[in-house]
Symmetry: D2
Subunit: 379 residues, 4 copies
């Protein structure tokens, strides 16, 4: 790859995650100047007026309504659309030798994810899966504590991701309510984050998930279309829970909901070990609650010091970061990998790849199987 | 019953719960003067010197090493010893027409609990089970909100009771580590509280627990005896978790541990409904976090006003209560029932009886069965 | 003093603080058995029916409408009435050789307090002033940290005591609104606590208050009488603030209000030193937030362990105490002093005496002078 | 002004605030597309290698070591250097008809600020002062509540800004420790923010500050130079406090410190009114604690909804913002004013101008005078 020219980047998708990654790319030169330079080159979508407006706003030079065409003209491809548009474009890109960053969940189904991971295994370019929460400084700090053995033997793992935007039965229908396009609901959208984060943080210590009991719930069966009077069926879950057994014996509970009154975007992870514990909530993402050593209670650590993960890239201590900053870190790690290097700031192997996406998908699949069968299943 | 004379009360057990109930009885005249008067009459135990010292301290006039004898001389009997000393004394008391307050879990096994509940059903005197947390003012406030429909349809229930006193592998062995005496570990000791509290708060709304998946864990296999060099086997669980399905469709997760670093006595209950949510933690027992109506976030309500449950019995607003006060409320409710009345301050049917104890024991039993079989079970 | 017989205790006052101390005395035998035994002997008041009812409820054997008479028949005397009934009874008791516990503020004015302290200086019996918050376990824990030098050089002291019961302009008038009876309002009622607590915690380290700027405010000028249609003038402050300079150079800010919406009984003390900091709030009185040594953020310590102050007198760790427990500790310390001993559990010199009451009154007086003159004053 | 071409922007200063504003300008096109377009044109500084590196990183096309020269080639000028480089460049720019955004405190002294405000008064272009915290969404939300009368009559105002970076006596000396360059220490650096924020939020309601008592403290007298073995004198305050009287009778306390152990960047503002209260802390800048109407306790509102201030410009609800986002809002408001419009998203008159900077400087000056004279002063 010619690194004297900016990498030409193509995006498939321009809504929430499209904007998040475009913003991240725009911020790299100022805050991560060592990362390979990129050019927001081509934005892919189907609705031409909306696409043009998005390209203008997000800083893309070109648009295309055919992702296959776009692949010819880019050095890197981001798969950021609805889940039913993950597998084919990602596989095609990898087969074309184009590095890919694909949002989570990797696929709608385990089969899709397996095909994608197989394509990645055969490719010689990076294939990253968008588990952005690995890149939260407080999570990186927690990872350092776990890896240093500060928590001892891990015994309890709790992860839950609670939102409330579908509490209202008249909140509008979207593709995220549709099994064909999304695969699953809260499970794949939110649960995938939790499952990956736990794997990342303590997977080395607690082992894999040996078996689990999973449940899905749909509280509201249909929702109004954004336009017109129609109500459309909700064919995915509003919430899930999973009780899991790790190979190493730790107890785990997982939960997510889009109908949890009182929680806007509360991704909470708690890990209790024989020697220490940590707690994290995304709504206070600059903070990690830590108990180690001779501590008697949780210490609220504001993870914004110069010596904290990514701390020297941003503002002085206490000048807190927002939700989008970990996406910048994620892009820095991905593009560094594309450029052949690991950025100094990232923890070893922080960048999640398609194998990680597949590993999480196996758990999503097991939860769905358990719910369907009404019994515990092995992963 | 002759209510012109104080009720003669007998206690079997004089350690933690013995002291807690003795303290409660001592405080009733000043704060609940309408409750029938009692005399701490006879304290039953086996270790005579310790028993005599306890009787002196706890204000009992007599001691006895034979609970059967004591039953002849009391109007009310409290069963407060280790769990293997619940069933027989409680049943004998009820058969003798003596009202009983028995600590939780009701029995060591479902069979014991069934026998006890059968005895209570045949008796004409009150038989109460010591689920003291029902009597926390913040819990009563939550109950009022649930009953008034302020939370709407209940969708998520989470309850966990985390302690850390057995994190240390050299924390000493006690009867609470022994299956013969305790039945189970964290499950019966802590989980019983959670299960009852959820039943009490939302049982009418979510229905019973249709089925569940349960897990038990023992992290430390033996512990040093309090005296000597011996290590004794731990034959109960250090922790459990349960994923439950309520008849009405709500999702529930339960967990308890005696090995959760960072949590001293953290009994947390969270209920999310379609219209509102509440959160409670025992470590901050004067507070209830409430979201109802047009609220956007949790409001931290200090449940100490005159108009709050039990508020007019104690101190001015903001002068907080401690762990022991709900035990006073519990005793007020029990003795009022013994005296034939419901105290005005108590919520309807707050007083848990042996049927409640049995209902919880069915869930404990199902969790144990599920763990043994490695599969989901019906309750 | 004959210690083979219970000490006969007389109380002047039977409302809030009368009940609080009566409760404390009732609880000592069970939880502080080494403290000299007492008999609640005579309750003094003016309204005979109310007095009789209170004596019955609070467990006093006798009543009297003449405090002078009562002094003849008691071994210990508690002065718990409105502030205008502090000086004379306390002085008379001390002159009669009867130990006294007098509620705070010591007097209505500096002159009264000086007379009282002079009487105490000449007496050979203990004269305690009711600064009960010294006896909160978390405060004792903070004191230990300060005394051990864990906070280093003290630089910032903040104390505020916020209540909201007089926010409503139609909250009824009471003696606490009347300068003749109360001396001052929030200043003497709440500020006295803060000033004493800061003196107790860091007085040895920061020195006395060299000078200060004080302000008083009355937000509501008259209030309805409890009975009838009359409105009575409010002649005391609803709130005060003070900016103080300690001899040692630390900066201090004090504030109290009875009209602070959102704060029921929020007595917050914060101390920042060169090596560490502590924070405390009475609404969460079991907790101390601590930062020492290499800590990066505040650690929330639940001060309920066996090895914590008073921890071995009550319940297992995490079974939290309430507002009234420090009053029990206060009574234990006072009665131990009356009996000639310091209770083992108390920190050295925890028991505040009339000199302490006077020292605080000097600050109250200086704040009033500063407010009147509109200028800084020396204490 | 020709708005068909991007506005050419010049910056004097390229360290912390230079980077903060450069970042803000870079983000406007994507998130505030209606704001006039800008070009980062010229960066002014003295150290040529550092300047060149900064210009490269911050995206400026040119550099200059002479701010006077730069003024000829820009449409907008930002004064972001040390405080001794505020007055002259800002005045010169205004005299040249170039809109100015000058960081706070406006000047080192009241005299400087008066000269600057006079220049702004004569100019026909916007002159903004960098009180960025006005633009925090939670602060805007608080402003809406105050303006709607939801808090009633304001009675208590508390503002404090606590940092800890100068706790360590060996933290290096910088211009911020030098009276000649900075004017004052914590007072001007941090206190200026608090004073402006209180003016902004409740100035209309509580009136001006009639008089005050101020104190300054320097805890560490000299500090090591960044290079070499020298220690340099600290000639500014490490901390200040002020007790203020508002014209309308409310009580106010202000405090700031760079030596407050346990507080990294804790700018806390609390306002208690007769009908409601709000609390804010910069370390949790997405949250506003609110009590209004029939509320009993503070409700924690995550101010990230679409309908919240600036909410529709960024991410979905609960995807929190960081410290830098209010600086983006500030730049949007400033550039909209430069372009002749008020951005729809901003509250009326949110943009602080030199009159606001001067009003705050009068208070800073009064605090210094009060400290010097040891007495209360009028502002």
């Amino acid at each position: 790859m010619d690194t004297t020219q900016p990498l030409r980047v193509g995006f498939l998708g321009y809504r929430f995650m499209g904007a998040a990654h475009a913003n991240a790319l725009a911020r790299l030169p100022m805050f991560f100047p060592d990362v390979p330079a990129v050019e927001r080159s081509v934005l892919v979508g189907r609705d031409e007026p909306a696409l043009a407006a998005a390209a203008d706003r997000l800083g893309f030079g070109h648009t295309s309504t055919e992702w296959r065409d776009a692949l010819d003209d880019v050095d890197v491809f981001y798969v950021l659309g609805p889940n039913h548009l993950h597998a084919e474009p990602a596989i095609a890109a990898l087969e074309a030798g184009v590095p890919v960053l694909c949002e989570k969940p990797l696929g709608r189904t385990l089969t899709e994810a397996e095909r994608m991971a197989a394509a990645a295994a055969e490719a010689t370019v990076p294939a990253a899966c968008g588990f952005n929460y690995r890149f939260v400084p407080a999570i990186q700090h927690a990872k350092r504590l776990v890896d240093a053995g500060e928590l001892g033997e891990i015994r309890h793992v709790r992860a839950r991701y609670l939102q409330d935007w579908l509490v209202d039965p008249d909140a509008p229908w979207s593709w995220r309510c549709d099994a064909d396009r999304a695969g699953s609901g809260a499970l794949g959208d939110l649960g995938a984050h939790s499952i990956d984060l736990v794997r990342y943080l303590v997977g080395d210590r607690v082992g894999g998930i040996a078996q689990l009991s999973g449940q899905l719930r749909t509280f509201v069966d249909d929702r109004p279309a954004r336009e017109g009077d129609e109500r459309r069926p909700v064919t995915v879950d509003d919430a899930y829970s999973a009780q899991v057994t790790f190979d190493g014996g730790a107890l785990g509970t997982f939960e997510a909901s889009r109908a949890a009154t009182g929680h806007t975007n509360d991704h909470t992870v708690e890990i209790d070990g024989s020697d220490g514990s940590v707690r994290f909530s995304l709504e206070r993402l600059n903070e990690l609650e830590v108990l180690t050593g001779d501590g008697r209670g949780y210490e609220t650590v504001l993870v914004t010091d110069d010596t904290d993960p990514y701390g020297d890239h941003w503002w002085p201590p206490g000048h807190v970061l927002g939700w989008e900053h970990p996406v910048v870190h994620e892009n820095a790690a991905f593009l560094a990998a594309v450029g052949g290097a690991e950025p100094a700031a990232a923890a070893p192997s922080a960048l999640p790849d398609f194998e990680d996406g597949l590993a999480t998908q196996r758990v999503l699949d097991a939860i769905e199987r358990s719910d369907e069968r009404g019994e515990r299943v092995t992963v």
